[in-house]
């Protein structure tokens, strides 16, 4: 069985995010396989939510397009099941608490396990609130990835020591989106995290260029790119797959 840890096994992980259902679930399946072919070590598949408060305009717009195309949580699970045999890297689902809560935590994590999803990221379910979902996730062997932010400070110890899968280090204040510069002292935060855990640390929010990927791969175990890929898919629509593959290959080779 695939595990999140596979993505970090002896290498720096490149983690790709895309929004399921943008422009269609069929195309998302293609883009996932293209991301894998380009060298992605792990893929986060976004499930659209009407009000994504942690998201910047790029991913918010992608969620709106996916919803307009009729994409819902159960459809994303079905799509993942359809490519299960062709994907050899670990897959994660990323969405907001409400679609999962309404679907039902128990049913959701059972389905995740069935379709081969290794982990889940729910940005509006912070450490203190995680227990209500985690009890079901553990039952089905699905890992819940926790986030650490530049503001976490004294929270780092408790979050890190209970982390599973990997730790999603938020590079900057604010929402997701491409940034030209990241000013947080990431090395210091990573050093702090590493005192409390061996769980790998991957950094996301604002990374889009091979130069940034190279730079942040030096201080962390992996690099997460979302908005840049979502933008690429927006730009190329139905024909994004080769562009996704090429872009990820360029990012991966820089790391």
């Amino acid at each position: 069985m695939k595990k999140i840890a596979d993505a970090f096994d002896g290498k720096k992980a490149f983690i790709a995010y895309l929004m399921a259902g943008d422009p269609s679930l069929e195309k998302s399946a293609e883009n996932i396989l293209a991301a894998q072919a380009g060298g992605a070590d792990l893929i986060e598949i976004g499930i659209p939510f009407s009000d994504p408060v942690a998201e910047g305009p790029v991913i918010e717009a992608a969620a709106a397009r996916a919803l307009a195309a009729g994409t819902q949580l159960q459809d994303v699970l079905t799509m993942v099941a359809s490519i299960q045999d062709r994907v050899h890297i670990p897959l994660l689902l990323m969405t907001y608490c409400n679609p999962v809560y309404v679907y039902g935590y128990a049913k959701f994590f059972a389905r995740c396990a069935e379709v081969g999803v290794c982990g889940v990221i729910i940005p509006d379910l912070p450490f203190e609130e995680q227990a209500e979902a985690q009890v079901h996730a553990r039952q089905h062997g699905v890992e819940m990835v926790t986030l650490i932010a530049p503001t976490s400070q004294e929270r780092v110890a408790k979050i890190a020591s209970e982390a599973e899968g990997f730790i999603y280090l938020v590079s900057s204040l604010g929402v997701t989106g491409v940034r030209s510069e990241i000013t947080t002292d990431l090395a210091a935060i990573v050093a702090d995290i590493k005192q409390h855990t061996n769980t790998p640390v991957a950094i996301g929010f604002g990374i889009s260029t091979p130069e940034q990927a190279a730079l942040y791969a030096q201080v962390t175990d992996g690099v997460i790119v979302g908005s840049a890929i979502v933008q690429l898919i927006e730009q190329h629509g139905e024909h994004a797959a080769p562009h996704v593959e090429k872009y990820i290959a360029s990012m991966k080779s820089a790391m």
Binding site: F49, S50, D51, V53, A54, G56, P57, E60, L67, Q72, L73, Q74, Y96, C97, N98, P99, V100, Y101, V102, Y103, P123, D124, L125, P126, F127, E128, E129, A131, E132, T146, L147, I148, A149, P150, T151, S152, Q153, R155, I159, V170, L173, G174, V175
Partner: protein
């Protein structure tokens, strides 16, 4: 599970980036509550600046007109800035200042909370930025100008449904970007802990005053307290001191828009289901997939797909009742109170008045109803005229 729970409702469902600033706020609020100086400063502002206590007025004309229970109006509309919003705003602004924050950000629907926040920012020498859905900036243009006049920057929110929910999304995003010097002054008993508790504490003065005033006036507790509910801040304020008095019916009036059957409403407590949104577990108008539903109300202040977690718990436990009032009924109440009492209520408050018009008739004359008149209706006059097919935009002479 985090503190700030009302039964299973409440909690702190926010991105990690905001957790530290919420903990900072909880600590600061706990400390301020115990500090006599803070309490004295807050009480002085409420008295000298907001004009509290607000009157409890016996609406004799309306009572006679309906021929049933005695109707008292709690005149929150007479507060400075024209609504109950100032009670909470002064408390939070003082707290933010004490925490060393120099900038206030807030969402607003009808604009009453935005105006109150802009006012407090000016008074306390703080910067102020208000987020308001584009649809609301159009239907409440007067309040947009008031906020600008008071020195606040008003951001039009063009995402989603361009109303209150989207204004909250955008203000949360802004807080995530910048929290060092910035306090998000949430205007209702919603959002992550400590907001539902803190805002309720700052609004509870309404029911404390009602209780004193009605006992002094009639020597008894009221039989019912009626208030409108969007997020629920004026309602929790009007209910809170009566929760332990089981003889007092507590009735929340939410927006039924074009009618619940039409699907164009904001009747969260009547038809909403449990969910997690805007930092809290509560009841929401949403579809079967957990997507937050677009809602509708003539009243921008009630046009919200959720309700505060304490209201959800009070309703589920059976302590409170809720009724849904249509746009048409609210407009009718707006006109009725204007013509019979000479008081123009906010269109939000008109939802409560509309239910009182029905309830008073159904109850005997020895019973007493208190209606919380949460705001004044000057801001709504142009919109109501439009609703009635009359264009009263002032033209250049």
């Amino acid at each position: 599970m985090t503190p700030g729970r009302f039964g299973d409702f409440g909690g702190q469902y926010v991105p990690e980036t905001l957790m530290a600033v919420l903990h900072e706020l909880i600590a600061a609020y706990e400390q301020a509550k115990q500090d006599p100086q803070f309490q004295a400063d807050y009480a002085a502002l409420l008295r000298d600046y907001a004009g509290r206590p607000s009157l409890l007025y016996y609406a004799e004309n309306l009572t006679k007109h309906l021929g049933g229970a005695k109707i008292y109006l709690k005149r929150e509309d007479l507060n400075h800035t024209g609504s109950h919003k100032i009670n909470n705003v002064l408390g939070q602004a003082l707290l933010a200042k004490r925490m060393g924050k120099t900038r206030l950000i807030a969402e607003t629907g009808a604009g009453q909370h935005g105006v109150a926040t802009a006012t407090a920012a000016t008074l306390l020498g703080m910067e102020c930025e208000i987020f308001m859905g584009r649809e609301d900036t159009q239907r409440q243009a007067l309040n947009v100008y008031r906020m600008r006049l008071l020195g606040a920057q008003v951001h039009e929110v063009t995402s989603g449904t361009q109303t209150l929910k989207d204004a909250v999304n955008e203000t949360m995003r802004e807080w995530t970007r910048r929290m060092d010097d910035t306090h998000y002054l949430i205007g209702s008993v919603m959002g992550p802990h400590p907001f539902p508790t803190m805002v309720r504490d700052f609004q509870a003065i309404i029911s404390r005053e009602i209780k004193q005033q009605i006992l002094a006036e009639t020597g008894r507790l009221p039989d019912a307290v009626v208030a409108c509910i969007g997020g629920g801040s004026n309602a929790i304020g009007a209910f809170y001191d009566f929760i332990g008095d089981p003889s007092v019916r507590l009735i929340g009036c939410e927006a039924a828009g074009h009618g619940i059957a039409s699907g164009m409403h904001a009747a969260t407590m009547s038809v909403g289901t449990k969910g997690v949104f805007h930092g809290m577990k509560s009841l929401f108008c949403q579809d079967e997939h957990g997507q937050i539903a677009p809602v509708h109300s003539i009243s921008a202040g009630l046009d919200y797909p959720g309700v505060g977690p304490e209201h959800a718990q009070l309703l589920v436990s059976g302590r409170t009742e809720c009724v849904a009032v249509t746009d048409e009924e609210a407009v009718n109440a707006f006109e009725t109170l204007s013509r019979i009492e000479g008081i123009i209520p906010a269109i939000e408050s008109s939802h409560a008045v509309a239910h009182v018009l029905k309830l008073a008739k159904a109850l005997p004359p020895e019973q007493v109803i208190v209606c919380n008149l949460s705001g004044r209706g000057d801001k709504d006059v142009a919109a109501i005229a439009r609703y009635k097919g009359e264009d009263i935009d002032e033209k250049n002479s």
